[in-house]
Each structure stands twice: as C-alpha cells, then as structure tokens.
Chain length 333, copies 2
Amino acid sequence: MTAPGSGASGEDCLIARYFRPLAVDPGAFELGDDAAILKALGQDIVVTTDAIVEGVHFLSNDPPETIAQKALRVNLSDLAAKGATPAGFVLTLALRAADEAWLEPFARGLGADSSRFGCPLLGGDTVSTPGPVMISITAFGRVVPDKMVRRSGARPGDRVVVTGTIGDAALGLDILGGGRVAAALAGDAAAREMLVGRYRVPQPRNALVQAVRDHAHAAMDVSDGLAGDLAKLCAASGVSAVIDVPGIPLSAAAVAALKAGAVGMEALVSGGDDYEILCAIPEDGFEPFARAADVAGVAVSSIGTVIAAASAPKFLDAQGRDMPLPRLSYSHF
Amino acid sequence: MTAPGSGASGEDCLIARYFRPLAVDPGAFELGDDAAILKALGQDIVVTTDAIVEGVHFLSNDPPETIAQKALRVNLSDLAAKGATPAGFVLTLALRAADEAWLEPFARGLGADSSRFGCPLLGGDTVSTPGPVMISITAFGRVVPDKMVRRSGARPGDRVVVTGTIGDAALGLDILGGGRVAAALAGDAAAREMLVGRYRVPQPRNALVQAVRDHAHAAMDVSDGLAGDLAKLCAASGVSAVIDVPGIPLSAAAVAALKAGAVGMEALVSGGDDYEILCAIPEDGFEPFARAADVAGVAVSSIGTVIAAASAPKFLDAQGRDMPLPRLSYSHF
C-alpha cells in the first residue's frame, strides 16, 4: 500500500485519497514506501492477525463503516486481552472493484477507530478478487518485556472472569438473518438494534489493558464462543474450571430472547463474536481488578473458578446440573 | 491461528498438524496463544504486507508448494530491498475447504522457505471463503535504528542498479496461459520451465541485505514492473532517471522470446512479478556493492543514471531514442 508518485495507478490514487490520512505515525512514511518502521521503545511487540470475510464474518449489506470497525476491533480485542497497548496495524483489502461509494465510508469508519484506539495505519496491500470482500488486519501492541498475558497462566483457585455480556452478537446475527430472535423481539426495536450493533461493532476492552496486565494470570478474548474459548484457556493452562451458568452476564435483550424461548443458554455460551475478555484472576486480585474495571467503565463478572483437573470445563445450572453443550464454538471447517 | 486445546475444532487440528512445526520462534508460543511476541533486540522492526490471490497472482493449478513460496517470498523481497533481516511472519489463509491434499504441500513449501530464509511463522488466521484462495502475509524484519533503506533517498548522479534479470516472470505467466511466448519457445522446454519458475517462485535477494544497507541511497523491489516502480522511486526521491534499455539485464530465454517477436521490450520492462531489487547507488559505492553482490552470488547491473528533473524517467534505446511505454506497470483496478 503505497501512495502515488508519477508512476501512480488507479489503485495508488485510491489509497492516497482514503488511507493516507490514517497513516499518522512517522514510521508509516505517509504510505510512501514499501514497508513501515515500528519502534519497540524498549518493549515487546505483540503481534496478532485476524481476517474477516464477507458472508462469513460480516454481511454484504452491513454498512462499510461498521465492517471497517469490526475488522480493526477484532484485532484490538486480542491486544487488550494480552495486556498490550495498541501501536499500529497493517491492512490487506481484497475487493472486487474500487468502488468509492464503499471505500469512502469504509475508510471513514477505519479512521475513526484508528484515532479512538490510538492505533495508526502503518501500511497495507490492496488486491482485486472475483470473490467475497476480505479484510485482513495484522495489529501490533507494546507490552513491558516478557509481560504479555498468556493463555497458559491460569491456576487452580483463580476466579474465571468475563467482561461485558455474552451471546449478544450471536443474537444480532440471528436477527439480521430474520431468525427466531427477530420474531421474539419484534416489539422491541431498541433491543434488536443493540444486538445487531454488538454483532457489527464489537467493543474491545482496551480500556482494561492495564488492569489485565496487573492482575490476570491468564487471558484471551472471547471470539469463537465462551465455552470453546474457556476450554482453550484451560487446556493451555493445564487446568479445568467450573462455571456458574446463572452468573454469566447477559444483556436484558438476551434475557428477553431466552425467556421467549427463541434461543437457549447453550447457544449463547457457544455463539461467537463476543469480543469480551475472559481471564483468570487470583482471588486476592479480583477486588482491585474490579475496581480498575469500574474506573474504566467496563462491567466485569466473576462466573466461576479454576480447578485442578484434566477434564473439560463444567457449566453448572442453578440446580448444579451439567449443562449439555452440543458444540463449544464456531469452527470454519 | 492457535493450536488445539480441549476445545479444538477441525480448524485448530489442521493448524497444529501443518503449521505448528513452522512456529520455531519462542515468541510464537507454538501457535498456542492469541498473539505472538516479536523482540526488537534494539533494532527497528520493519513491517511489510503483501497478499496473493488465486487467479490474480497465482493460478489455480499452480503447485501448492510454489504458491506458499511465492506468498512468503514477495514479502521477503520487500524486506531485502529495505535492508532488513527477516525476523518472522504471520499468515492469513482464506480457503474454500480444508483440503489436506492441498494444505500438506502448501505447508511443506512454506516451511522449507521459512527455514531457508530464517523467517519463522509467528501466528496467523485461517478463514473459510466461497471465493478464490487468498494468502496474506505480514512479514517482519530488523534493521539498525533509522537505517531502513527508503525509496526517497536517490540523488542526481547515482547509478540505477537492478539485480538479476527483468521480465522473466511476465513471460512465464504468458507461457502458462498458452500465449505467444509459449509458441515462440515451443522447442525449448528448459527455457519455458525457467520462465514459469520465475513466475511461480520469485528469488528474493535477501543475500544482498547488507550490501543494500551499506551502499544504496534508495531501494525498492520490482514487483509491478521496472518502469512503474522506477517512476515511483524517482517520484519519492524528487528526481528522474535516464535508463539505457540495452543495459537492462535479460535472461537468454527472454532474449529468445524478444528475437522471435513474441514480446516487446516495453512489455518486459512493464511486466510484473520480477521481485528483483531496484536501487540507487552513488558512483563511489557501485564497485563495493558489485563486489558484495558477487560474493553473495547475485548478478547486479547498472542500467542508468539518476538525474535532477521532475519528468518521468526516460528509457533510451541503442540509438538514444525514447522507448514508448503504453503502460508502466500492473494495476489492480
């Protein structure tokens, strides 16, 4: 992704017009070179990459602004969960055509979030494709050397903590597809809009970076479903967990959808796209963590306990019975 | 791209089997976390990203090994031109299906080049797509602080230098499409194979990294065609150039295709996919640069001179006449 010189093609001109304003970091050279420079500033560089594909992670008729926001935010969410402060990102954009009516709002949405989260564009590549639009972002963060929060540090006795609410994005996707949730919430436009918003525009918890770094033994973001992602965190840590299902935080809209029978709890805990932080916090760290979260304006909920076991995490209902989970999370293949 | 825990999906298992062996850097955590750590080791991190798309940058029936090699090498070529030593890469792989008969040789080709160029896999993402296969790689290099070789440093009087030979990959693509070059070289299987190889498997000039860093005022890799890329380098540097067309290095196969009238010189200098280094070397730096290149086993050719002008670079034939260039380079849109 390079801005035009006198050898400028149509591609170069589009890049200059829409993306150069986002390249505010000096290391991006205003997109005028083949590569960018990222200064580590004495820290570790944390690297994460996530792609979103039309028809898979977003819908063709989603607003371009929110597609851009989602593409960046799913990566910011990973940085947040790792305790890393955003440093920049590179973008690969595969498009069928250089449609300015799409590119302009896309770049506007991307630019707004790039500013909001302090994560400047460092470079990229645009390619043509006859297939679905695909946006691949690699994002960079900085963290104190050797202090990246891993998946693997959870210890027996830690609290299992999640931010925000779980399952909203899966409900939003159902609504966009005209599913049962849309019918159940037919009378509540605000609830439907909130859920669709949660699907389209994740709320990465970067405001919690410092608290995660200070207090979490282990953390990851919930992108493929709480149940599956918790299983991954436990496996990486060599532990298990017991989750109190009634303690899992739900939005009022999700509770309404549950009560109407439009969705089951197992679908909420295995639905994808939450982009909340799941972490293991030692008992004596929970209070300061919760206090820091309160200051940051992020809700956090203690939903269970890490235990010493090799078995899969258990999800127990109000009666203490195992909740059956036919699938743990979304899988691409 | 994370290896499986007990919440493993089919996607996770495929990643583990084929890609974990490539994640030899400790910062990759064996693909067992959400992000990787890249240590700057007191240097600047150079970041570049390039994607290749089925039907655009490679053909559906190209061998998976060479598709993987091309995906990595187009990025390694950028690092080489910037004077950066490879440090690692992340991979986004968009596939229609998890076809192991394709993934196995793809990962094998990727692994071989990852070892060969000292550029370990740090992480990635696999997504499903109904469209063409797309491989997006973001590669990282390290360079002495503030010593990345820019496009913008060329000065009047510098020699314009390229590595290797120009135009071979464009001829290889023509051969794969059964074009006029295929007919012209019908009797020379070795020449056809060499040209196809140049299209499928670029030869990034990472062996020249130190020489580029030591001697080049400006450099970039030739990916979209020599003429267009030279125009970009000149524009970034605020200079122009005069190129001696007969001095542009051609392979024997390209000379044969030219002589047979299957291709014109202007197509060779505007064809894409060369992945050679184009650089501006001060007169007194050329001899040590050429000596270092000789030691590295890379051919380099002085093809012209940087001049103080705002006009587009001129390509002069043996009679000193301007060569008309109907197009300078490949553009996606």
